[in-house]
Amino acid sequence: MRNMLFFLLIILLADFTSASAQEVITQTFKDSRLVNIQSVETLSKRRLDVRIGHRFGDLLGDNGGWSTFYGLEQATDVMIGAEYGATDQLTVGFFRTKGAGALPDGQAGLRQVLNGTVKYALLQQGKEGGAPVSLTFWGVASASTAERIPDNPDIIRNFSTFAHRMAYHGQLMIASRLSDRIALQLTPGYTHRNVVAFQDENGLFSLGLGTRLQISRVFGLIADVTFPFSDYRTTENGFYPALGIGLEIDSGGHLFQLNFTNATGIMETDFIPYTTSNWLDGEFRFGFTISRLFNL
């Protein structure tokens, strides 16, 4: 089945390569990320995108409310880093995240994480005719730089081998701009963690859905949701799909994003396996991303 899908993809790519000379839609989304998931957008050649992302604590629920000033006194996850357009198709990046995910029983995922990212635009949607969708691959390799705890073999931070510090994620993004205002994206992905708790699974397929609605020249509404496919990751076991909604503000050189999400981690290797917060219990948080583009 997987081989068939792969061949279909190759045929699709071959079919539309001949149409590459046609005019293409260059901006399906405004930014390289929606709230939680990546978008199909790559940077133009020699553009640098410096990004800072932040997720506060739970707005409501047991750990939120007045005592934490609705989560604003807590930093659940923080990301800082940059991406660079090596070519118009290839974007590479390097980010540092705090790391935030944990299993419902408290088993923590990777912390103090360095993330190397690669994004490659395989296909761009044609304006009239040509490809009906844009297709982009994105991959991340995450490595924890946290100090190991050698005396406790029951926790991930035991790091008995270097490989246990690593987790990876790869995804294909299939997006279409349906009109001048609306864009949709489908994101099948695969996450692999080198070490997991005894009841968990190393490999994890997931499907993300994202959308963007341009509401004025400056403002855009964005939303995405990611479903991991796993017998273990059920709501009965304390896992929930990562659901984010946000507002994008394009001020020219900067792009601000204000968002609310139940995901604690920012990187895919974190929020896909470890989203255990429930919107309906008030366990969602305020967050923001600032993106500044430079021409080099």
Binding site: D105, A108, G139, H164, M166, H192, F198
Partner: protein, 130 residues
């Protein structure tokens, strides 16, 4: 300005990282004899006790007493050295050595409840999960 070469580093890092793949699982943790039903975690069960009884201004928060107990990693050195178990569990009846001490400020607990002590003992015996 050409900065593309700078990004060769993350690209190589990705390749290096991808070359170290494994599919390992942690051992199933032993259910400690001191636990009754489930194993508590630092967050939220132990953290709540710590914040109420240890991590406040003038004690294990601002450097007045050894250790800044505002996070799991702040607590870890005293757990790994055994000092936390000794002072909280073994010396709990000692008015000065037992934590929290009898000289704790007004409004702060000077003793942990038996339920809190049981929870901390189970947590420590279970490998103090985060």
């Amino acid at each position: 300005m050409k900065i593309a070469p700078l990004f060769i580093f993350p690209a190589f890092t990705v390749i290096l990282w991808c070359s170290s793949c494994s599919s390992d699982k942690l051992p199933e943790p032993m259910f400690a004899a001191t636990c009754t039903d489930s194993i508590p975690a630092y967050d939220p069960q132990v953290r709540q006790i710590i914040e109420e009884t240890c991590a406040y201004s003038g004690c294990h928060l601002d450097g007045t007493a050894p250790g800044v107990y505002d996070s799991y990693s702040g607590l870890l050195p005293n757990i790994e050295s055994g000092a936390f178990r000794t002072r909280v569990l073994q010396l709990r009846d000692d008015p000065n050595q037992g934590m929290p001490p009898d000289y704790a400020p007004e409004g702060r607990p000077r003793d942990l409840t038996q339920e809190q002590l049981d929870l901390i003992e189970c947590w420590l015996d279970s490998g103090y999960p985060e």
